[in-house]
């Protein structure tokens, strides 16, 4: 855990796990201590960010000098402790096998129809630590099946192993206490408080925490077997918290979103809006070729036509940028504009929002995942919302001549009205990179280029607390689409700005990121690589922002209090 990363020398103790000597902070539980030596101790109920319950008994270890086996999650390291895990102690391995046999006594073993099959700790551990058939011949206890606990989560009481992670999450993290464990012994069942529902803004997180198939997403039940999906580690673009997620994709659709552990950002939580709304960045009806819009309708055209239309106007170009553009894209945009004219004509859609107490645990007060990236690139100032408002006012007053719209979210949905559309129509040149064929912005622009959704792009995002993270494309590319960075690079090339990466036509997103990490003075001295950003990202400091925009204390404190 991060707070134990740099303990004082005096707080370190020497322990031995399976004969390997380790130095860990005094009191570190043995699961975490073993992890530092890459020794995996199996566990169900233990979670590093929840209190220790110690009820699954799976993490048993043997400690020299203790008369009986003990549980690793609730055993703190002390000087000279000698621990044997299942790797070296047959006694421990037998105890774990017996624990599993007990846990499975009343388990329905309905893996064939269980959504968790394939990513289930019960399956994995049984295979790894027991792997023999049950000796239980008696009648199993039956409990509630398919009981909705709230709008998002479904309970299967029989699959539950009573680890109480979900209860502890609602008690300790959201502090909403919707869940409890009723009855006792083999009759125990998880239940929601009478008269209430499990409906807090982080409710889907209990499904991630559930090590078995007892809690499932109502949204995604029976969608697909997990082994038919492609799973990608990425970053949620829903707001500027930038939570780490694992996204499962099948047939181009997002079929499951899990929180991924990142202690510096989201621990292992994820909000329902980000999770269940993950697919909202992927419109069903796609624009797949460039075309011109006129009163007579849509006319297919070439990409070069749109470049030719605006390359002469770069000096007076107004850019409306989606807040989920990549940092690389903001960088190229800056190069494009800086080479040709002064800054100050780029805005990023930014709308603040009120958050409930539970949302404040995780969610940032905006919908703009990478507005910090735009700030870092120096395209946007300290107060993006008023800049954005100012720009919308200008458009509505028809003061804009040449406009480039980057992304569907370049104007927030609630800000699109008739005045804005007619303001856009009044512009002499207007090119939009859009993905959604039903985007209301289509009514206001003269040329449309098929853009890419943030879910189809890999690149860098900077979260509200200035953590640089690498988001990976989670769905396959749509044929015919042009990533915003390539369009910007081609435009820069056409406009005569020779600072963009060469061979942009052949570059992949990863090539772009590699190029960016060495090309931008902001990060080039940090020696970063995509691989080094893989695990939790890299924390930038306020002084790395450029140009010198003051970084106020209020904003520094805006990182969510996870």
């Amino acid at each position: 855990m991060s707070e134990q990363a740099a303990p004082k020398q005096a707080d370190l103790v020497n322990i031995t796990i399976d004969g390997r000597q380790l130095q860990v902070a005094k009191g570190t539980n043995i699961i975490e201590a073993a992890k530092t030596a890459d020794i995996d101790i199996p566990h169900y109920c233990y979670h590093p960010h929840l209190s220790v319950a110690g009820n699954c008994r799976m993490c048993q270890i043997s400690v020299k000098g203790m008369p009986k086996m003990t549980i690793a999650c609730n055993t703190g390291a002390t000087e000279g402790m000698e621990v044997s895990t299942h790797h070296t102690s047959k006694e421990v391995a037998d105890a774990q096998a017996a624990t599993l046999e007990f846990i499975l006594i009343n388990h329905p073993l309905d893996c064939t129809v269980c959504d968790q099959a394939g990513h289930c700790k019960l399956q994995d551990y049984h295979f790894e630590y027991n792997a023999r058939s049950s000796r239980f011949l008696e009648q199993k206890v039956h409990k509630v099946k398919a009981l909705p606990l709230g709008p998002t989560v479904m309970l299967d009481g029989e699959r539950c192993i009573m680890c109480t992670r979900c209860i502890r999450f609602c008690d300790e993290i959201t502090k909403t206490s919707e869940l409890g464990m009723l009855n006792r012994g083999d009759q125990s069942v998880i239940a929601v408080s009478p008269g209430r529902e499990l409906d807090n803004p982080l409710s889907g997180t209990v499904v991630d925490l559930c090590p078995v198939g007892a809690l499932t997403h109502r949204e995604w039940r029976f969608n697909t077997r997990i082994w038919f999906t492609k799973q990608t580690d990425s970053i949620c673009p829903g707001c500027s918290t930038g939570c780490s997620v694992k996204v499962a994709e099948r047939d181009g659709q997002v079929v499951l979103v899990k929180a991924r552990r990142n202690d510096a950002v989201n621990k292992e939580w994820l909000c329902d809006e980000g999770r269940y709304g993950f697919g909202r960045f992927l419109p069903q009806s796609r624009i797949t070729e460039p075309y011109t819009v006129s009163d007579s309708g849509f006319q297919p055209c070439q990409l070069a036509d749109s470049l030719n239309a605006i390359k002469g106007n770069v000096k007076t170009l107004t850019v409306l940028a989606s807040p989920d553009l990549l940092l690389e894209e903001f960088f190229i945009l800056k190069q494009l504009l800086a080479r040709t004219s002064s800054l100050g004509r780029v805005t990023v859609a930014y709308r603040g929002r009120e958050l409930s107490e539970v949302e404040k645990i995780l969610v940032s007060p905006d919908y703009s995942s990478n507005f910090r990236g735009a700030q870092l690139a120096g395209l946007v100032g300290e107060d993006p919302e008023s800049e954005y408002d100012e720009m919308l006012g200008k458009i509505r007053r028809q003061e804009i001549e040449h406009v480039l719209i980057l992304g569907d979210r370049a104007v927030a949905q609630q800000d699109i009205d008739a005045a804005l559309i007619s303001g856009l129509k009044a512009a002499k040149t207007s090119v939009a990179l859009l993905t959604n064929r039903e985007s209301p912005l289509l009514a206001g622009v003269k040329m449309v280029v098929p853009g890419r959704s943030i879910l189809e792009k890999s690149g860098l995002l900077v979260n509200r607390a200035l953590r640089l993270q690498h988001a990976q494309a989670v769905v396959p590319l749509k044929d015919g689409t042009v990533p915003e960075w390539r369009y910007l690079a081609l435009l820069a090339e056409a406009a005569g700005a020779k600072v963009v990466p060469a061979n942009v036509q052949q570059m992949s997103d990863r090539d772009l990121t590699r190029w960016y990490l060495t090309a931008d003075s902001l990060v080039s001295s940090l020696g970063l690589s995509i691989a080094s950003l893989k695990d939790g990202g890299f924390q930038l400091t306020p002084s790395q922002r450029e140009p010198a925009v003051a970084f106020t204390g209020e904003e520094a404190g805006a990182s969510p209090a996870v």
């Binding site: 409990k143 006792r184 009759q187 408080s193 009478p194 209430r196």
Partner: protein, 207 residues
């Protein structure tokens, strides 16, 4: 309000259509005073969940949502945590019991001294299975684990009063007398006193 399966085993709360009590429930002055007293005995408020549940059970005759809400609000704990306690212990009744609720001890000493006979006698006399309530609401009986009166086995507890060294004759006399006199054997666990109506009779005399 709450749903119990046919065999009374699995108890889960149906969450639909239940509205938690909005206005704070107030029980009798006596109950409120006792709750205040009890709460002061514990360093942590939540420790008083069990005795307070008894108070609501005495008041309502069983554990109800209103009673749970009362406890939760008195102790500032989430209602579900009070439900956890109430459903864990069998001595909190989630279903109505009879006016006279007989608990027959069936743990080893009583079993060796004829607890099964006591159960069978009650089954025949009252026409009830363990866990059932008679149609007129007078009687219910259940088998329980040790009530701590092994020296006088076999025994049973009717509401809060022990009746010991039971034989068929004694039980017949006892049940007939209760039927006739209808003594007030109110729940009095917290008060630790004999229900009114039988105060004059030492237990040995009743038996």
């Amino acid at each position: 309000m709450v749903s119990v399966t046919d065999n009374g085993q699995v108890f889960h709360i149906n969450t639909r259509g239940i509205t938690p009590t909005k206005a704070p429930l107030v029980l009798s002055d006596e109950s409120e005073r006792r709750a205040q007293e009890l709460m002061q005995q514990y360093p942590q408020a939540r420790s008083a969940i069990m005795p307070l549940l008894y108070i609501t059970q005495e008041h309502f005759g069983l554990i109800t949502q209103a009673g749970v809400d009362w406890v939760a609000q008195k102790l500032s704990v989430p209602p579900v945590q009070v439900w956890e306690v109430a459903t864990f212990y069998t001595m909190y009744y989630k279903k109505p019991v009879g006016r006279y609720h007989i608990q027959v001890c069936r743990t080893l000493p009583c079993a060796l001294r004829g607890a099964r006979r006591v159960s069978e006698f009650l089954h025949n006399y009252l026409g009830l299975q363990p866990g059932e309530v008679s149609k007129d609401g007078m009687w219910s009986f259940e088998e329980v684990e040790c009530l701590g009166s092994c020296g006088t086995a076999p025994m049973c507890q009717i509401n809060d009063v022990f009746f010991e060294n039971l034989t068929d004759e004694k039980l017949t006399a006892l049940l007939k007398r209760i039927e006739k006199e209808k003594p007030d054997l109110r729940f009095s666990t917290v008060r630790d006193e004999l229900g009114s109506g039988l105060e004059g009779c030492p237990k040995s005399e009743i038996i």
